[in-house]
C-alpha cells in the first residue's frame, strides 16, 4: 500500500520535473558570475584553478562556515558516542603479516599524495578537502591494516585546532593588510608556478591538515570501541 502510494506521488513528481527540465537546455553557456570568475580569476587571485579561487577567495566565508560545520560534526560525534558503553565483540582475526607490511609501506605514500593534492590546489584539480580526505583514507587503511597500533586522538585534535586557527589568522591578517577578511595580501606571483596565488596555498595547507585530522578523528571515534 505504502509503496504504491510512494510510487504514485514520485511519478507525479517526476512528471513535473520533466516539464520543468524540458525548458532548461543542457549545455548552454554559463552564468554571468561564472564568466566573471573565469575572465578575472587569474588576474585577481593568481590561482590557475578557477574553482580554487572561488572556494578560497571569492567565497572564502562559505569555506570558513563549511570548515566550522565539519568541526561541529566531529565534535558532536564525539559527544554523542562518548557515553556509549564499550561492548566486547567477537574476536577479530589479526591481519596477516603481508597486509600489515603493505599498509606500513603504503601509508607514507598516501600521506605524501594527499599533501601533494592540497599543495597544488591552485594549479591542478584538487585542494584541501580532497587532500585531507586522502590523508584520512590513509589513516583508515592503517586502522584496518594494523589495528593494534593506535594514534593518540589528542594529536588529531592539536593538528585540527592548529589548522583552524591558521585559517582564521590568515584571514584576520587580511584585515590589517587590506581592510577585509581573507584579503589576498601576499604577492600573486607568476601564474602556473607553485609559489603563486598569494595566500591560497597557505590556506589550503591549513584546510588540508584540518580536514585530514578531522576525518581521521571521526573514523577513530567510530572505530574506537567496537
Amino acid at each position: 500500500m505504502r509503496k504504491i502510494f510512494s510510487l504514485i506521488i514520485l511519478i507525479i513528481l517526476a512528471l513535473g520535473v520533466y516539464i520543468c527540465i524540458s525548458e532548461i537546455p543542457f549545455g548552454k553557456p554559463g552564468t554571468a558570475v561564472g564568466n566573471y570568475y573565469i575572465e578575472k580569476g587569474i588576474e585577481e587571485t593568481g590561482a590557475v584553478n578557477i574553482v580554487t579561487s572561488i572556494v578560497l577567495n571569492y567565497r572564502g566565508f562559505d569555506t570558513l562556515g563549511e570548515v566550522t560545520i565539519l568541526f561541529l560534526a566531529s565534535l558532536g560525534l564525539g559527544a554523542i558516542l562518548a557515553t556509549v558503553q564499550n561492548k566486547t565483540r567477537g574476536v577479530i582475526t589479526p591481519p596477516s603479516l603481508i597486509l600489515t607490511t603493505a599498509c606500513r609501506f603504503l601509508f607514507p605514500f598516501i600521506l605524501m599524495f594527499g599533501a601533494y593534492i592540497f599543495l597544488h590546489g591552485h594549479l591542478t584539480p584538487g585542494g584541501g578537502f580532497q587532500g585531507g580526505a586522502i590523508i584520512a583514507s590513509g589513516f583508515l587503511l592503517r586502522y584496518l591494516g594494523c589495528p593494534q597500533k593506535r594514534i593518540r586522538q589528542s594529536s588529531f585534535v592539536a593538528i585540527e585546532s592548529l589548522g583552524g586557527i591558521a585559517f582564521i589568522i590568515i584571514g584576520l591578517l587580511g584585515f590589517t593588510a587590506g581592510g577585509f577578511f581573507l584579503f589576498n595580501f601576499l604577492p600573486k606571483g607568476v601564474a602556473n608556478t607553485l609559489l603563486s596565488a598569494g595566500i591560497i596555498p597557505l590556506i589550503y595547507i591549513a584546510i588540508g591538515l584540518k580536514v585530514g585530522a578531522e576525518m581521521a578523528g571521526i573514523i577513530d571515534t567510530l572505530i574506537e570501541e567496537s
Partner: protein, 614 residues
C-alpha cells in the same frame, strides 16, 4: 523636568525598595511609604502645568512625556490610591513571604501607570502599558494556586489586547510617520472614515480588555478576587481605569468629538453605548449572586465601568464630565471597599459572605468606611456617586436615550441589592461564635478608610471642586466651558445644585422622621419569637446570612450565568483538541515526513501543470 523627576523617582524608588528589602524590612516599609507620599506631593505640585518634553529617542522615534489637565487628573488618582494601598499593606503584608517582591511590583505597576498617563507618544505609551500588564500579572498570581490560573487568564487576554494595540500603533506610524499624540491629532482629520474605524476598533479591543468591557471581561472576577487585597484595590480602582484613559485618549484626544460621533455613520458610538449598557446590567446581577466578598466587588467593578463608558461614549460635554467624575468617584469608593474587605479578611481570615456577620460592634471604623463606600456605590445623595450618576442619567435623558437610561437605572437597583447584601452579611445580623474575639482593624488600615470616606462625602457635598478640573479637561478636548460653582453646575444645559438636593433630601428626611414619630409605638419582637415560636434557638446553629436573596436567585440564576466565560472555556477546549490533532502530523516516522515534503512538491507540480500559476 518635574515629569521626568516623577518617573525617575517612581521607577528608581521601586527598585531601591526591593534592594533595601534584602537588608531590612522596616527600612523597606518606610521607604515604600516615603516614595509614595513624596510622589503624591510632587504630583500635587504639578497641578495646572502643561508641557511636553522629549526625553529620549527609540529607533529615531522621539519618546515624549507630556502633562496636561487630563494626565494630572488621572495621575493624582493613581498616586493617591497607590499611596493608601501601600500604607494599608504595611500591616496586611506583615509576616508574608516575598514581601520585597510584592512592594517592587506594586511600585513598578504604579510607576508604569504614571508613565502611561504622562506619556505623549505611543511608543512610550506601549512600553509603559506592557510594564503595567506584566507587573500586574505577577501580583495577581502572587498567592500561587488558583491565583496562577487567574493570572494566566488575565495575561493571555491582556496580550491579545496589547497586540491589537501594537497593530494599531504600527498602522498609525506607517500612515502618518509620527507617533506623537498631538501630531497625530493634527493629522487625523484628513483620514478616511474607514481607516479611522479600523484604528478605533483595534484600540477598542485593547482598552476594552483592560477595562473589562462586557464580552471581554472574563479575566476580571478571578483576578480581582485572587490578588492580594491592597493590590485588588489598585487593580479595581486604577488599573482597569487605564482602559478608560485609553478610551478618552483615542476617542477625544486623538479623534476629537466630531470625528468620533461620525465614526461609521454613528454606529460605532451606538455599539459602544450598547456594550456599556450590557456591561452595566449583566455584571450587576452576577455580582448579586456571588458569595465571595471580593468577587462580588469585582463584578461590581465591571458594572461601574459600564457606567463610566456609558457616560464617556455618549459624546456630549455633560456625559464626558459625568463619566470622568464617576471614574474619580469609583476610584474612591471601590478602593475603599476592597481595602475594607481586605481588613476583614486580615482580621477574620475569611471573605466568604455566608460565614461572616455581626461585625459592626467589633470593627466599627471599618463599618463606617464600608457604609460610606456602599453609599457612594449606590449613589445616595450627599455622596459623590450621586453626583456622577445624576450627571450620567441627565445626559442620557437629555440626549433621548430612554433605554440606556433604563439600563442604568436597573443597574442601580441591582447595585442597591448587592450593596445591601455586602453590608448586611458582613456587619449586620448575628455574630458567628468563632468571630467573638475579632479585633478592630489596625491603625495603618484605618487611615486609608478615613481619608477615602472623607473624600467620598466631601466631593458629594462640594462637587464643584473636582468638577472644575474636569470642566477644564473637557474644555481642552474641544467642548464648551460650563459654568461651575462649588455647589454644582449652573449652566442651562444641565443645572445641578447640591444645595437644592440637600434641601429636598432634608425635607424628605424630616417628613419621614415625622411620620415615624407619629405612627405610634414600636413593638420590639425578639428573634426567637418570629422564627422559633418562642423556643430558644441554640446559638451558632442559626445564621441567617446564608442564602441571602434566595427566592430571587431561583428566578434569575438560569439567565445570569457567565455565558462569556463558558464560551471562552469551550473555545479553549476546542482549540486544544484542534492543536492536538495538528500535533499528530508529527508522528515520529521519518517516511511520513518525507511524504509530506514530496506531497508538497507534487502539489506544486500539479498546480504548475494544471493551473499554470507561474
Amino acid at each position: 523636568m518635574l515629569i521626568q523627576s516623577i518617573l525617575i523617582i517612581a521607577f528608581g524608588g521601586a527598585f531601591l525598595t526591593y534592594i533595601l528589602g534584602k537588608a531590612s524590612s522596616a527600612l523597606r516599609d518606610f521607604l515604600a511609604v516615603l516614595i509614595s507620599v513624596s510622589l503624591t506631593v510632587l504630583i500635587f505640585l504639578a497641578y495646572g502645568k502643561t508641557g511636553e518634553i522629549a526625553f529620549a529617542s527609540f529607533m529615531n522615534l522621539p519618546l515624549v512625556l507630556r502633562i496636561n489637565h487630563l494626565s494630572w487628573f488621572f495621575a493624582i488618582a493613581i498616586q493617591t490610591v497607590t499611596t493608601l494601598s501601600v500604607i494599608f499593606s504595611l500591616s496586611y503584608m506583615k509576616g508574608k513571604e516575598r514581601v520585597d517582591f510584592y512592594y517592587l511590583m506594586m511600585l513598578l505597576c504604579n510607576s508604569a501607570m504614571l508613565g502611561i498617563v504622562l506619556s505623549g507618544d505611543f511608543v512610550s505609551f506601549y512600553i509603559f502599558w506592557e510594564i503595567m500588564s506584566w507587573s500586574a500579572f505577577l501580583l495577581i498570581s502572587y498567592n500561587r494556586g488558583g491565583a496562577l490560573y487567574a493570572g494566566m487568564k488575565y495575561i493571555v487576554m491582556s496580550i491579545i489586547g496589547s497586540m491589537c494595540m501594537l497593530i494599531g500603533i504600527m498602522s498609525l506610524y506607517s500612515t502618518y510617520g509620527t507617533l506623537n499624540i498631538r501630531e497625530i491629532h493634527d493629522l487625523i482629520s484628513t483620514a478616511s472614515g474607514e481607516y479611522l474605524l479600523f484604528i478605533s476598533i483595534l484600540f477598542l479591543a485593547a482598552f476594552g480588555v483592560k477595562s473589562a468591557l462586557w464580552p471581554i471581561h472574563v479575566w476580571l472576577p478571578p483576578a480581582h478576587s485572587e490578588a492580594p487585597s491592597p493590590f485588588s484595590a489598585v487593580l479595581s480602582s486604577i488599573l482597569i481605569k487605564m482602559g478608560i484613559y485609553g478610551f478618552v485618549l483615542i476617542l477625544y484626544v486623538i479623534s476629537g468629538a466630531a470625528l468620533y460621533l461620525g465614526l461609521g455613520g454613528g454606529s460605532f458610538r451606538y455599539i459602544l453605548t450598547l456594550l456599556a449598557a450590557i456591561t452595566i446590567i449583566i455584571p450587576t446581577f452576577n455580582a448579586l449572586m456571588q458569595d465571595d466578598a471580593k468577587r462580588l466587588l469585582a463584578w461590581s467593578s465591571i458594572a461601574q465601568i459600564g457606567y463610566i463608558i456609558l457616560g464617556i461614549s455618549i459624546g456630549t460635554s455633560l456625559g464626558l464630565i459625568g463619566g470622568l467624575f464617576h471614574f474619580f468617584n469609583h476610584v474612591a469608593f471601590k478602593a475603599l471597599l476592597f481595602l475594607a474587605v481586605g481588613a476583614i479578611e486580615y482580621r477574620t481570615g475569611t471573605r466568604d459572605l455566608n460565614s461572616l456577620g455581626g461585625l459592626i460592634k467589633k470593627m466599627p471604623v471599618t463599618f463606617i468606611a464600608v457604609l460610606a463606600g456602599t453609599f457612594g456605590l449606590i449613589g445616595i445623595p450627599l455622596t459623590n456617586g450621586f453626583v456622577s450618576k445624576w450627571l450620567i442619567y441627565k445626559t442620557l435623558i437629555l440626549n433621548n436615550h430612554p433605554f440606556l437610561a433604563f439600563a442604568a437605572l436597573v443597574g442601580t437597583w441591582g447595585t442597591i441589592l448587592y450593596s445591601y447584601k455586602l453590608i448586611h452579611n458582613i456587619f449586620l445580623g448575628q455574630l458567628p461564635e468563632n468571630l467573638e474575639h475579632t479585633k478592630p482593624a489596625p491603625a495603618s488600615m484605618k487611615l486609608p478608610f478615613i481619608i477615602l470616606s472623607v473624600v467620598i462625602v466631601l466631593f458629594g457635598i462640594l462637587p464643584g471642586i473636582p468638577l472644575k478640573l474636569i470642566n477644564l479637561i473637557t474644555a481642552s478636548l474641544g467642548f464648551d466651558l460650563l459654568n461651575i460653582n462649588i455647589w454644582g453646575i449652573a449652566s442651562e444645559s444641565g443645572p445641578l445644585n447640591i444645595i437644592n438636593i440637600f434641601a429636598a433630601f432634608a425635607v424628605a428626611l424630616i417628613v419621614v422622621w415625622f411620620f415615624f414619630l407619629i405612627s405610634g409605638k414600636k413593638v420590639v419582637i425578639s428573634q426567637d419569637n418570629s422564627y422559633a415560636a418562642g423556643i430558644d434557638v441554640p446559638k451558632g446553629k442559626y445564621h441567617y446570612t446564608v442564602d441571602f436573596y434566595n427566592p430571587m436567585f431561583r428566578m434569575i440564576k438560569p439567565y445570569f450565568r457567565d455565558y462569556m466565560d463558558e464560551f471562552y472555556s469551550q473555545l479553549v477546549k476546542a482549540l486544544a483538541s484542534l492543536s492536538d490533532r495538528v500535533r499528530r502530523l508529527y508522528c515520529g516516522d521519518l517516511g511520513v515526513y518525507v511524504i509530506y515534503i514530496v506531497l508538497f512538491l507534487s502539489i506544486l507540480v500539479i498546480s504548475k501543470i494544471g493551473l499554470n500559476l507561474w
